[in-house]
């Protein structure tokens, strides 16, 4: 019978640990602080999309806290690593909701991870602002508690098609990497191009592992395409541009929001002149080297001296400003419902870096993007802002 009583003892103990202590009325909110959770890859290959965006968010929170917080409460950020893996994202989100008991989640970097965790977010009703994952399916169709401050893949594709159409391009080549992000972009770009009457001359793959793009360049070169859309991370895109330069292939090259910094990209390509005809799209209207970003750049480097500053920091700042604005709007009597209502009511919110005012009526708050080029002097230059016609 002793064994039995031991088992019962273990069960009771576990129950005691598992049942949350209801010390406060609203989860994650005390009189002095608001606990906000964030998840994304902090380590591993995709750390930039997670950790660096979190750095931006945390820098903004620190800034707000230094100025007295939101309605007298300071913002506290809890980071959880999802390692960019669906199971990891589910565990991370559940940890934030049930273990850390945060008030809201501002995070998400890998589309598949967020998609896997979406059901939990939906069911728990916790306010969620996606800050870096691109997939349109995260926020569409609209779900009550899910918002996004990132440029969605649908919008980015539509804006790219519009840009090409404005240039008068009739035939384009697409060079894509076939991972979750790349295929999501690919899937939305093809119909967007078709809608603008632009023909896809060739559709090539260039993987992350590739160290050579000779075959792809030759095929694109032979296709008579007037412009090339590079749906890839900086690495494959650089390989492509290097090989294009060496094979004497010049064209207009269109980048994506994962290559938001054409100056850094030019350093990666490292072939003089290879990025002269490269224009990229960004969810940020100022680059890190601009005068407008200088103040933030300093705060970021002071707070996170080990991490190289990166455009992804700025996406975190945008998400943070949206969050803070909505928290202020929701007032001192903060609940998850009032925060969600405040988010939804956000309209015409000007942030430091978003290329247009944030309107969260459709829950996809960012509806504009900037076009960025590298100047011959090696500075970034915003060559245009665009919103969908």
């Amino acid at each position: 019978m002793k064994l039995f009583s031991q088992i019962v003892g273990v069960m009771l103990m576990t129950t005691a640990l598992a049942v949350p202590a209801f010390a406060q009325d609203v989860q994650g909110v005390s009189d002095t602080s608001i606990k906000i959770g964030t998840f994304g890859p902090i380590t591993g290959a995709n750390y930039a999309f997670g950790r660096l965006t979190m750095n931006g968010l945390e820098t903004l929170f620190a800034d707000v806290n230094a100025a007295g917080g939101v309605n007298g409460r300071t913002l506290e950020l809890v980071r959880v690593d999802d390692q960019c893996d669906p199971a990891g994202a589910i565990a991370a989100v559940r940890k934030l909701i049930f273990d850390d008991q945060v008030f809201a989640i501002i995070g998400g970097s890998c589309s598949n991870g967020v998609m896997a965790a979406k059901e939990d977010i939906e069911q728990s009703g916790i306010p969620f602002v996606n800050f870096a994952a691109a997939s349109n399916n995260i926020s569409a169709p609209e779900i009550e508690n899910i918002f996004t401050s990132m440029l969605t893949s649908n919008l980015e594709s539509a804006l790219q098609a519009q840009y090409l159409s404005d240039l008068g391009v009739k035939r384009v080549a697409v060079v894509a990497q076939h991972d979750a992000w790349g295929s999501d972009r690919h899937k939305t770009l093809l119909p967007a191009l078709a809608e603008k009457g632009i023909e896809v001359a060739v559709d090539e793959e260039l993987s992350m592992e590739a160290n050579d793009a000779t075959a792809q360049v030759l095929r694109v070169q032979g296709s008579g395409a007037e412009a090339v859309v590079l749906l890839s991370y900086p690495k494959p895109a650089s390989i492509f541009l290097r090989d294009a330069a060496r094979l004497g292939f010049t064209s207009s090259f269109i980048g994506t929001s994962v290559i938001p910094d054409p100056v850094a990209f030019d350093e990666q390509v490292a072939v003089p002149g290879a990025t002269d005809n490269f224009v990229t799209i960004s969810p940020s209207r100022y680059a890190l080297d601009s005068a407008e970003a200088a103040e933030w750049l300093e705060k970021l480097t002071t707070k996170f001296p080990d991490d190289e500053p990166h455009t992804y920091n700025l996406y975190g700042i945008t998400a943070g400003q949206l969050t803070v604005a909505a928290l202020e709007q929701a007032g001192a009597d903060l609940t998850q419902a009032s925060f969600i209502a405040a988010l939804e009511a956000t309209s015409g919110l000007e942030t430091t870096f978003a290329p247009g005012p944030l309107n969260c009526e459709t829950h996809q708050c960012l509806q504009a993007a900037a076009w960025i080029k590298r100047t011959p002097e090696g500075k970034t230059e915003v060559v245009g802002l665009s919103t969908l016609d």
């Binding site: 591993g44 290959a45 076939h178 793959e205 075959a215 690495k235 390989i239 060496r246 350093e267 490292a270």
Partner: protein, 293 residues
Amino acid sequence: MLSVLLASGVANGLLYGLVALGVVVLAKAANAFNFSQGDVMALGGFVSYAVIVTMGYGSVAALPIVVIVALFVGVLSYLLLRPLMDAQHAVALLTATIGLSFLVKGTIRLIWGRQGDYFAVPPLVSGPPIILFDGAVIIPLQHLVMSGGAVLMLALFALFFRFTRLGLFMRSVADNPRAARIVGIPTELVLCSAMVLSLVVSAVAGFLLAPATLIFPDMGFSLFLKGFAAAIIGGMMSLPGAVIGGVLLGVTEVLVSGYISSTAQELSAFVLIFVALIFFPRGLFGGRSSRSV
């Protein structure tokens, strides 16, 4: 188009061949395989980045430092894995090298992981590409250096095995470990040098490859896999076979990509591995008899 494709296929293939050389050296002398070879290759790239870009020395300075780092890692790996380096521990050794691969990759990420996502290493030589036959063949200097370096390494290996005492020892241990021990060949030394040599050649391959690509901590594994495929195609026991296997793989990849589909490029290496293993278990150049069980 074909000539351009072939030129780049050969240049890439020679690099696969270099990794394959490392695979074969270790397989021959110690009958072992080391999963961390690809990560040491990445390490070679990162060390040359540190020397050339961060510290601002020239490429000439990078090579000896890459070799020294690889020697260090190699000796360390040997000391760590020594208890497992015999035929009875083959599976355990392989598992341990997977751990080693994680260690090396994790260390790379710890040192360089926060400084950016992908690093560009400047070319070893700069200048316009060599254009032959009115532009029918364009060979970038970097490819020429890569190919030249790979061929040079192969030649050094051949000389080493033919003319040095250690090389002779390694050959005889490979042929018959039992007999080698009986006649007094220092087995320990041979195993250690095989491990070190295979990692050094990988790191040098990383040094040669780095300027042609962008380096990132996870780059190693797929390169190791391709080097391994090259070694298998070449028969696992033959040094020239390894290099020819590498070239064959590089050319196949680029031809598949150029004439069939760039999506199928990644698949071609795996198909080649499988086909080679099943239909040419001794490789195209190997000549060892196998048992029926």
